[in-house]
Symmetry: C2
Subunit: 217 residues, 2 copies
DNA sequence: CAATTAACGCACTAACTAGTTACTTCTTTA
DNA sequence: TAAAGAAGTAACTAGTTAGTGCGTTAATTG
């Protein structure tokens, strides 16, 4: 009987595509890690969702943690690259700052996995991000961008002097991040549907107000 | 041989104390859940750290999730009770608000488990907190407190009108919470030790400035 | 087209994990 | 002080889980 049925019948001849498989795994992993955290995520589930064999995960990413690290790096690179595409350096300082606040909010809103991935990484004391050099480089660009907006605003006489760009950056992230990452407990604590259409609209307006008042003379 | 050695020798006669055992379990669980999240926490580890038998956990708390729920409730009740003890209603509105901002910051700083527990609960879409009625009641008091500070400030002509107390509350939490819960990734992203003594001092000052500018006329 | 390489898949394992069974030991109270 | 009840323990189970060994099949290249 050996060698008789080389091609098992009734199974489609698989098309081989390493890049596509890798991409499917990464996509499934992102969702699974975001939903359950690093510890709660199941490698078998990721493989199934990716329509890939579990063996492939270990082939491409070495380990569950290796996979997590790649997912996390990709997530950071994505937001950093989207920020760069805003071209804030070409805009009026006030307009640029408001645009950044709005962008940050909308990015978190559209990519809630980013929030949970970052939370998960902090639970693990950033051990995966520590290894990544490219993340530092791209983050530096963001701080420089905010720094330059602030400087131009000061020169134009509309922003006050002495605002630390890093603190400002952190605060821009904070006012959106906290609201959205804690939307489930928040909805209970504040007895208000934080994700309702008008609640979201009210929040982004409030955040813009917060940041503008912070930097204005 | 039966009944011959009723008391096994060489073992201390255990002192029985249900409340103390329960408390030790809760304390160990809080640390374990905070460190590893609900999914990553190990019931065996909690039992060991609590110097209790695992069976006791199931005796007192029914399940791992039951234990988590109690830990979480206790954590919320603790911060809400500490807030009430500030007696902000007796203070000048500006002083009261600054005191609340400072308190919130210091509470997070001294109780980092609170942050991870809340993060973990949000990963699970607040399914445990949902069941708790007492949390809603105590949260309402906090919102009312901030609400009353705002009102008194408006009457005194020092705060502007129309600031939503819930949004303000969220923002007070946000500016501290985000910084501290993301201190590990933050230290990498911003290439600065966010937990250094002067960095912490700088941050709380920045946060006070942010909140004050937000409410001031 | 043969040989090599790379993608893919099956079935397994060793360690772990939440929860339980069946018991012993201490404390309280009628 | 006997009996009941509550606190505490050890050993176990049934199901998971990350990770692998090894064989198969498709694509590539000399």
């Amino acid at each position: 009987m050996t060698g008789e049925q080389t091609k098992k019948p009734g199974r489609k001849p698989r098309i081989r595509d390493a890049e596509a498989t890798k991409a499917r795994i990464l996509d499934a992993a992102k969702k699974e890690f975001a939903k359950n955290g690093l510890g709660g995520a199941r490698v078998d589930d990721i493989a199934e969702k990716a329509k890939a064999n579990k063996r492939m995960i270990y082939h491409y990413f070495e380990s569950k943690e290796g996979l997590f690290q790649t997912v996390l790096e990709d997530a950071y690179l994505d937001i950093r690259s989207a920020e760069q595409k805003l071209h804030l350096e070409d805009l009026d300082p006030k307009v640029a700052l408001e645009k950044l606040v709005r962008f940050t909010w909308e990015y978190y809103l559209k990519n809630p996995e980013f929030l949970t991935l970052v939370n998960s990484e902090n639970l693990h004391r950033a051990k995966h991000l520590k290894k990544s050099e490219i993340i530092k480089v791209s983050s530096r660009k963001l701080v420089n961008m905010v720094s330059s907006i602030l400087e131009r605003g000061v020169t134009a006489g509309i922003f006050r002097d002495g605002v630390d760009p890093v603190q400002l950056n952190i605060t821009i992230a904070a006012v959106g991040y906290y609201y959205l990452t804690n939307r489930f407990t928040g909805t209970i604590i504040y007895e208000r549907d934080l994700m309702a259409r008008d609640a979201l609209e009210q929040r982004i307006q409030f955040n813009i107000e917060t940041i503008m008042r912070l930097v204005t003379v």
